[in-house]
Structures are given as structure tokens and as C-alpha cells.
Symmetry: C2
Subunit: 489 residues, 2 copies
């Protein structure tokens, strides 16, 4: 698929000079208009022409206002990428709304390089390309404009450039050993590069192939393509949320919560004994996990007043403070609102050997945001897919992932609310919202049901915990975490 752009395109000096000034002006203007808009732009620059890629990024900095370009170069082997799932670094590098992120290599090189070195096979490559597609689709669905450029230089032109560089020291110093290597291995690289480009060329994120041999042609095409796409997007009406997909068929409903036995309980002495035993067990397991580099993510969801905080404290009590981090999910900050809603969860993923406990989580999207209509149906409906992909990446990285729903019935909740109202230091926990939410018990039940059905799996299971009795719930959670860790140690 690269051959069609090996046609020797050239731009004369005069044509270039006449074109550049108005182009720069338009680019700057578009950039300033973007600044006020609630979406972001990603310009991903990759290619078999290393120098061409670098020069293209340079020229963008010259032509646009560099203060609002957020440029990232992704190198391999930096610790964080091993410590956390593959895409973690790319999530960290996403531009905020109104900004242009310039990603050199981006998420493309990683897959190509590993296939080339034989670290992964074709199947694994395909699986990674599928992740890339889903990542790009997720960003596009969130309004991000993704522009991908591949700078292509034929083997002949590569060789010619290197030979010229050998003779001319003014050019030669910009060449690196790896440029020679690329020419040597060109015939192995190209098919993998082509496969990667082909498999990630989707309506959400099209590739633009640019013939890279002539610098003026390359830069002009690059700049014009960005301008055209950006202008079109700025002039388009604000995207109305897509038509909602048909709601999940109610026939599918299994009502997972109805089947929970809420009478389960533990008398205090029995509780104390079991809790202590499990805490000792958990203490040993988390120390072993630290030593072996086994990471854990725990997610706690549940009805208001179901006792999440108490359960979490029984867990953390058994662990060394350096080994875990509790991430309570409160209202998002301005910074977080200016990114995809999963952004703030990605950033908290644990390093190797650590545990992160989410007190509420990304499931807000398909629970409270769905029921209270904070999210458009199309948003929470694609949420399931986005969440599944997110969790798949966590699991593939070797992390233990457990998700808990603490279940109580409406009567128990009301009892606890009333108790909170007469306990002064707990009053802050109760607001009018809580009572309002109660009136939507059935809708929440349906949302929980669909959530568990769509996002539960062997590798990322939902554990529904009977929590009418707090003691029972605490021991159940302790037990589940211990077993899951021990299974993996």
C-alpha cells in the first residue's frame, strides 16, 4: 500500500514559498479557534523515514504556536511502560481539550518494533492492532480529531539520501546508525509496517501517506492536510451525540441482585476470629505480591451506605502502607473534565507489586451517570466496550483485578441513613441526593444487572457481596482477595 506514493512528487521552491505564508496564517488561526473548543486534536507522525518524521514535527513547531502544541516522543524501555499496561503512557500523554497533541511514533512503533524483533508473533501483533483500533475509536467517539501521518521513503530514495550524506558532511551529521539499519532491513520492515497501517486505517482515524523524499512536498502536504481536517472539524456543527443504540433487550435481564442471600450474617466472636485469620493471610499475601511484582486492582461499588469504607479499612489494616493506595473517586477536576472520562482512572494504575483500591470507579459511567442521565445513552452504552477494553489491558499486563458490588436492601439502607442522621460526625455522608437516589432503586438495579452481565468475566469478575450484615461483608471480601492473590502467587 506504500507503493502508490512512490511517484516522485516534488514542489518547486517558488511554489513552496508562495504557499507557506498563507498556510501558516490559516494554521495559526485554526489553532486559536480550536483553543476555545471542547475537543482535542492528535497529530500522530510516524513513518519509515525517521528524519522526515522529525523534520515534520519541527516544521509544525515553526508554523504553529508552539505554546499550545503538546509534543510527546515515545521511547521504549522506560520503566513505567513495564510497570504498567502498554497504553498507560499514551493515556498520560493525551492533550486536553482545545490543544493539539503531537505524538511522534505514538502507539504505532511499539507494535512494529516488537514484531520485527520477534518478541511477538503475527497473532499477538493483530491483537495489539485491535487494541489500537479500539483506543482510537474511543477517542474519536469522545470527539477527538485524530490525524495520522506516515512518512514514506522508497528503499531507493533511502539509499540515495544516505549515499549523499556520506559525501556531504553538511548533510551527513543528521544521519544515524539506525538509518543505515533501516535500509538493510527495509524488506522485513515494510510488510509489517504496511500491515500495521492497513489494520489501523479506520473511519475513526485515517492514515495519510505522504511521500517523504522531497522536503517541500512533504511539509506542504503535511501542513495542508492538517489545516483541511482541522478546518472541516471546526466548521462542522458540534457533534450531536450519535443516535443511541437500541437499549439492551430487557429479556436478557437476569436480575443478579435478586438472587443474593441477604440474610447471611456473622456473630461478633466468629467474625473477629475469621477476620483476624484473613488479615494475617492477606498480610502475607501482599508481602509476597510485593516481592514477586504482582499488581492488584480492587474496585468497590455498591449502594450508598453499603459499607465500602469499612470494608476497605479492614483490607488496608492488614497491609503495609507503602504497598497500597486508596483512590477515592470524587467529582472530577477541571483538568480531568478536559479529557476522556477514563483518563483519570488510567493514571492511577499501580506499579508492579502494588495494590490500588478504587472507592467508586469508572463504573460510575454505567451506574449513576446512566440513571441520573448525566451521560447521554450513546456515551454510557459505549462505556461497556470501553471499560472492557480498559480492564482487558489491565489483566493482560498480569494484574489481579477484582470488582465488588456491596449489596444491601432498601430497608437496610434506610436504617443506615437514619442512623447517620443521628450520628453527628456521619451526617456529612448524607445529602438530599441520597434520598432522591432511593426513589430510583429499580433503575439502579437494572443498571447494576446490565453492568455485571456486560463487564463480568473470568479474568475480571464481579463479586456480589451480601452486605446487610457488615461483618459478613468484610470477611467475604477479605476471603475473596486472599484467594485471588494466593491463586496467582
Amino acid at each position: 500500500m506504500f507503493e502508490p506514493v512512490e511517484i516522485g512528487s516534488k514542489v518547486s521552491k517558488d511554489e513552496f514559498e508562495a504557499a507557506v505564508d498563507p498556510l501558516r496564517l490559516d494554521l495559526i488561526n485554526a489553532q486559536y479557534e480550536l483553543h476555545e473548543r471542547p475537543f482535542s486534536v492528535i497529530v500522530l507522525v510516524a513513518g519509515d523515514d525517521r528524519l522526515g518524521v522529525e523534520e515534520a514535527v519541527d516544521v509544525l513547531h515553526e508554523w504553529m504556536d508552539a505554546r499550545y502544541l503538546d509534543t510527546h516522543v515515545f521511547r521504549q524501555g522506560v520503566e513505567d511502560r513495564i510497570e504498567r499496561p502498554w497504553f498507560w503512557q499514551h493515556w498520560q500523554g493525551l492533550p486536553r481539550h482545545g490543544q493539539i497533541g503531537v505524538h511522534m511514533g505514538g502507539w504505532i512503533y511499539h507494535a512494529i518494533a516488537r514484531r520485527l524483533r520477534g518478541v511477538i508473533d503475527d497473532d499477538e501483533l493483530d491483537r495489539r492492532l485491535a487494541h489500537i483500533r479500539r483506543f482510537e475509536e474511543l477517542l474519536a467517539a469522545d470527539g477527538t480529531l485524530i490525524l495520522k501521518f506516515w512518512m514514506h521513503l522508497s528503499r531507493k530514495d533511502h539509499r540515495k539520501r544516505l549515499e549523499e550524506a556520506e559525501e556531504d558532511p553538511d548533510k551527513g551529521w543528521r544521519m544515524e546508525d539506525r538509518d543505515w539499519k533501516l535500509v538493510e532491513h527495509y524488506r522485513e520492515i515494510l510488510p509489517i509496517a504496511e500491515r500495521t497501517v492497513r489494520e489501523t486505517d479506520t473511519p475513526a482515524a485515517r492514515w495519510h501517506l505522504i511521500e517523504s523524499a522531497d522536503r517541500r512536498h512533504r511539509h506542504l502536504t503535511f501542513g495542508r492536510t492538517i489545516l483541511e481536517a482541522l478546518t472541516a472539524r471546526l466548521e462542522a456543527p458540534e457533534p450531536t451525540p450519535e443516535l443511541a443504540a437500541a437499549p439492551a433487550s430487557p429479556a436478557e435481564q437476569t436480575d443478579v441482585l435478586a438472587s443474593v442471600d441477604l440474610t447471611a450474617e456473622l456473630p461478633y466472636e466468629e467474625y473477629r476470629k475469621r477476620r483476624n485469620k484473613r488479615q494475617v493471610q492477606l498480610s502475607k499475601a501482599t508481602r509476597a505480591a510485593r516481592d514477586e511484582g504482582l499488581s492488584t486492582v480492587l474496585v468497590f461499588e455498591g449502594w450508598d451506605a453499603a459499607g465500602k469504607g469499612g470494608v476497605i479499612r479492614r483490607l488496608t489494616h492488614a497491609m503495609s502502607a507503602a504497598d497500597y493506595r486508596v483512590v477515592p473517586i470524587a467529582a472530577p477536576t477541571e483538568e480531568e473534565l478536559a479529557h476522556h472520562y477514563l483518563w483519570r482512572f488510567w493514571r492511577h494504575l499501580p506499579r508492579l507489586g502494588r495494590m490500588v483500591i478504587f472507592d467508586r470507579s469508572w463504573y460510575g459511567r454505567v451506574l449513576v451517570e446512566r440513571v441520573e442521565e448525566y451521560a447521554h445513552p450513546s456515551q454510557w452504552q459505549r462505556g461497556y466496550t470501553e471499560i472492557n477494553d480498559f480492564e482487558q489491558q489491565i489483566v493482560e499486563h498480569g494484574t489481579v483485578l477484582l470488582k465488588f458490588w456491596l449489596h444491601i436492601d432498601p430497608d437496610e439502607q434506610e436504617r443506615r441513613f437514619k442512623q447517620r442522621e443521628v450520628t453527628p460526625y456521619k451526617k456529612y455522608k448524607i445529602t438530599d441526593d441520597d434520598y432522591r437516589n432511593r426513589s430510583r432503586w429499580a433503575e439502579y438495579t437494572a443498571a447494576v444487572d446490565e453492568m455485571v452481565r456486560r463487564t463480568g468475566s473470568t479474568q475480571a469478575p464481579w463479586k456480589i457481596i451480601a452486605a446487610n450484615d457488615k461483618r459478613w461483608a468484610r470477611v467475604e471480601v477479605l476471603k475473596t482477595v486472599c484467594k485471588a492473590l494466593e491463586k496467582r502467587l
Copy 2:
């Protein structure tokens, strides 16, 4: 200094239970009031009682709203701490305004542990304690309330607790090998801990020593001290900026800019030759720096239209994109405004072997913020000290630090402004502000002069570059960077 708290303080169960509920209520209320206020709180919990420290942090999470506690545990040996100056991690962990940061160990353990292991000597310990003092003073001057707690357990009580734990498995599992080690080395540890506590007990950040043996006493004292300090701070009038220090004596003025020879220039052919030579040199030097792990920070300041962008592009043109990052300083985000003004610069410091180029920098504080009166005199005046301490830490970490002021005269600036106005794609670079700023040329000159005098040093030198001729300026900067790198390789 720890002995006075070895008095066997105890709180009865009844007293504890009667006291806790109102305390929790008050803590929660104070926390909610803080939420709306423009300052942050740091609760640093350290001590010779490891378990006591962990339990204190736990109890705070139980008593307060954990969603607004920002808890950090600092472990040693994580890569980032070696990659960047010592305090980098602590800057990253600072809470935003309205929040309480809970720092377990914080910046205290690091110094103690290294002294104990003999990695550093007493002199180096003192130097680090001085850094700690300045860090805390800087935060306090910015309005941060810093509460430091040291949980102290006598050697006798340590031993008693460990012996009890050996007999009672219900207690034993919480003990770790290092608790035994601590008792063994107690007599070596204590003097170093005492020295550390003594030397970092300042009006900006007082230590609270708590006898840790009795858990109820420990928790009640801890909670009450926080409440008291937080309440006092919330009830105090919003701190008016301190009275400005006397302005720098004008007699000191040296007018460093007046001595710059602005007639320096390079004809094009000579420029091309020298530039190319220096770029080849820089290319080699930065590759060697990458291989050897030598980091570099470049700072560019200068008059508007002095040509910073052009100079920076001549530098980056000679480097591999993976090795450098340009950080253009634009208006701060909401997140950045909710922190100390140096926070956003700390986060961008380079990893080992990389270069970060700041296009404008922390010097805004003592330049534009001073002259345009965006900062109170007390703020920009203490800015010199804060900047010097920041840069000292960069330099001590082994990083090359160079600061450039690109100097032009008012006539040249006017010529360039006019040129920008007739160059459509450059018009965005010129605003009414720019012309206003011109009217304050003398004030800016005085500010530059004081800046260079107060913050220039052999290790973090200011280079004033004659930039009326752009070509001259570019080659001068290239030469300076090359020489500084080669000196260190």
C-alpha cells in the same frame, strides 16, 4: 528531645469514646470548610514507631472524609527519585488548595535512612536538612499549613510490644522484621532522628511529638492537634502578604545589559558555516549525554521578539527528538494555580540523559509578574531565594543548567514588531500588551539586572546574548551549550 514524651500518657476507654464522636464531627466540618479555601494542608506523619505511624494515618482516613485526603507514602529506590532531584517526588505529591495531603514519612525518612546507612555524612545530612527547612518555608510562605508529627516509642516500650506480639498471634502478624531491626539499632537511630527533628523544627513547620505507646492517647492527641491547628488557621483572617522587604538597594545596580555589545553580527555565509559546525558538535554531545545519563536544563528568557523560538529551533534541529523536550510556558491551568508557582516547573525536570528546554520559565516571577505587579512584592522578593534553592537542587543532582537572556534594544524590537504586523502569520505574536510592555523598558531592565545579580552563579550561570543580529545570537547559544556539555562529558 524525645525523652520528655516518655511519660506513660494513657487515655481510658471511656474518655476516648466520649471524646471521639465530637472530635470526628469537628474534623469533618473543618475539612469541609477548608475545601473552599485557597490554601492547602500537609499532615506529615513520621516516627520511630512504624506501626503507630501507619495506624495514625488509618485513623485519619476513618475520621475524616477520605475522598479529600491525598495520601502519599514515600518509598526509596523508585526510579524517578534517581532520575530526578531528590525533592521532585515531594513536589509531585503536593495537595492542591482546599485539600489535605497526608504524607507518610514525607521528606524526613530519606535523610535519616541515608545517614544511618552511612551513605551520607553529618555535613551532607545538615545540607539536606537545610533543604528541608527551605522547602517547608517556601510552602508556608505560600499559605500552606504544615503539621508534622513524630510518633515516639521508647526502646523499652518497643521491646515490650514485640515480646507481646511473639506470644499473641492476634498481634504478632502486624509486626515486621524491620520492627525488630529498629529495636536493635535504636541507639544509633535515635540521635540521627533527634537531630533531624530538631533541625527542622521551625516556625514555618513545627514538630508535634506524640508518645505512641497507648493507642488511644496517640490517636486522640493526633486528631486534636490537627483540629486545633486547622481551626486556628481557618478562623485567622486571610493572611495579608507580609510587609514587603526593603527593595534592593539601587546602589547595587550594575546594569548588566548596558554592557552588552549589540553590534555583534555575522554575515550569512559565515553564519551558515559556524552554525553547521556547532550543530554537528551538539548532535554528538547530546548523543554522548544520553549514553552517559547527563541531564540538561536550558532556560530561555529575553525581550519580546528577541528570537527565542528561532534559537530553540536551531538547537533542536541538531538533536534527536527522543532526547529533548521543549516546554513552552503559557498561562497556568486551574490545576497549576492551585499549587505553589514552582510546582509546574518541577514536574517538567528531565530524566537522566535528557534535555528540557524552557521557553520562558520560573523567572516570570521576578520579571513580568514583578513589573506588571501580578505578584506582591513579598512574593517576587522571596522568589529569588526560592529559585536559587530550586536551581541548586537541579545542579546538585548533576544536571547541566544554563540560562539565557536574549538581549535586543528598543529600536530593534520596534522594527521586529512592525515586521510582524505586516507578516500575516506572525500577527498573532503581537498584542497590545507588547506595546504596553515597551513603555516599561527601564523597569524591565532593572528587573533583569537584579535577576542576573541574585540568581547567577558559576553553577547556574546567566548568559546574556547579544541578539540584535539573529544569526549571531543563534551561533552564540549553540556554542555555549556545546561547550557546557563537553566540559561535563
